[in-house]
Symmetry: C2
Subunit: 234 residues, 2 copies
């Protein structure tokens, strides 16, 4: 019903109770799923209990909506900023793509829970919110597709778009490697993901193995050069 109370007497960058709730809710939703977490648990996580949350949010759905819309906006805004910055300094598409990759890695490492929710609980949103999130996601993907296509002009648009989604899957795998002693530290993880992502994109022009291993090429004929690229318009 409402949404205003973000503004108090000051623009206060201090960690407000609202943000506290959002952070804990994100963590819990990522751990056990949106429907698997009760409002009492969220409240308990921030020291208040149950219905006290309704002084800050219209409902449980509103929390999820704010989380998903927020991360979509930040992802897109950050990507856009990096594209503009890197482009304005005269860097080529390779550097721009590198910057996008680095930015996404930072996101994936800093906000694991949100990255997880981002493609897991989208279906729980109200139609309007879901549309907004999807629109932002699409714009973000488009940033990547544009620069990757500039780097690999011989690849079809659909192929590039699929490759971008696949690399997202690669970068967003961070929640799965959280195990004890997975990697020495954040820097090493970031470096590894960076190399893997660049390697994946590089294969677009490399002419890598296009046919199943140890199987006579037969069903794969015509798949390497298939620029028909006719996305069926939504």
């Amino acid at each position: 019903m409402n949404d205003a109370p973000t503004r108090t007497t000051t623009p206060a960058p201090a960690p407000t109770r609202r943000e506290q709730i959002l952070r804990e809710a994100a963590r819990l939703f990522a751990e056990r799923g949106f429907h698997g977490v009760g409002v009492d648990e969220i409240g308990a996580a921030v020291g208040i209990s149950g219905p006290g949350l309704y002084r800050h949010f219209a409902g449980k759905d509103a929390m999820l909506a704010e989380l998903l819309v927020g991360i979509s906006e930040r992802l897109f805004a950050g990507g856009q900023r990096r594209v503009i910055e890197a482009t304005s300094t005269g860097d080529g598409p390779a550097a721009v793509l590198g910057s996008l990759i680095d930015g996404h890695i930072d996101f994936a490492l800093d906000d694991r829970a949100l990255i997880t929710l981002h493609d897991r609980e989208l279906g729980q949103l109200r139609d309007s919110d879901r549309k907004q999130v999807r629109s932002l996601q699409r714009q973000y993907v488009e940033l990547w597709v544009d620069v990757v296509r500039r780097l690999h002009p011989d690849s079809g648009e659909a192929e590039v778009r699929a490759a971008v989604h696949a690399v997202f899957g690669l970068l967003n795998s961070t929640p799965h490697l959280g195990r004890p002693g997975a990697l020495p530290g954040r820097t090493a993880t970031a470096a590894l993901l960076r190399r893997l992502a660049h390697g994946a994109f590089a294969s677009l022009s490399d002419g890598g193995p296009a046919e199943p291993a140890g199987i006579p090429a037969e069903a794969t004929a015509g798949t390497t050069a298939d620029p028909s690229a006719e996305p069926s318009a939504g």
Copy 2:
């Protein structure tokens, strides 16, 4: 509480009602989440209504458990079979890895819903089932780690394991590109995923870009330092 009715009077390879239920349940769970689907919906999807499901399964949890354990077993068994086959014909590690990749791609394309559930609803399982699934997952990962380490002996084990998880994320991205007309066809999608996966692994020895792309150290501040960040994520 029980689990016996798996064995009826015959091993009947025919598409039984049980399998029908499992298929529809997998689809619905993947679409709206385990808690987001009611038993009535699952029943309706196979033409019976609500509690009729309890003639075939002990409960909703049992369906999910059977789905997750089943796919874990099939993934591992298939991977093991491919490793043995490829190895026995004297192929090198590259060919073995190629076979693993192809097998995983087949899985990801044929059983999208299950691949999705596989890492999404694991937390909803009873402890014993979850342990079993995790054990199978670990064994499956180990198949990959072994062969990748043989291909890239200079990489550390933790690094290789993380890379394998990341490539799983890449290959499992299929649910995100399944939309109408995303790519010309299944063959093209498989070929693309294959190239991307091989490209990613190739970067392990390539010495790719190990440091952030040319960006004023500002957004990346504090990221180069090494906080041995180890979230306790259970």
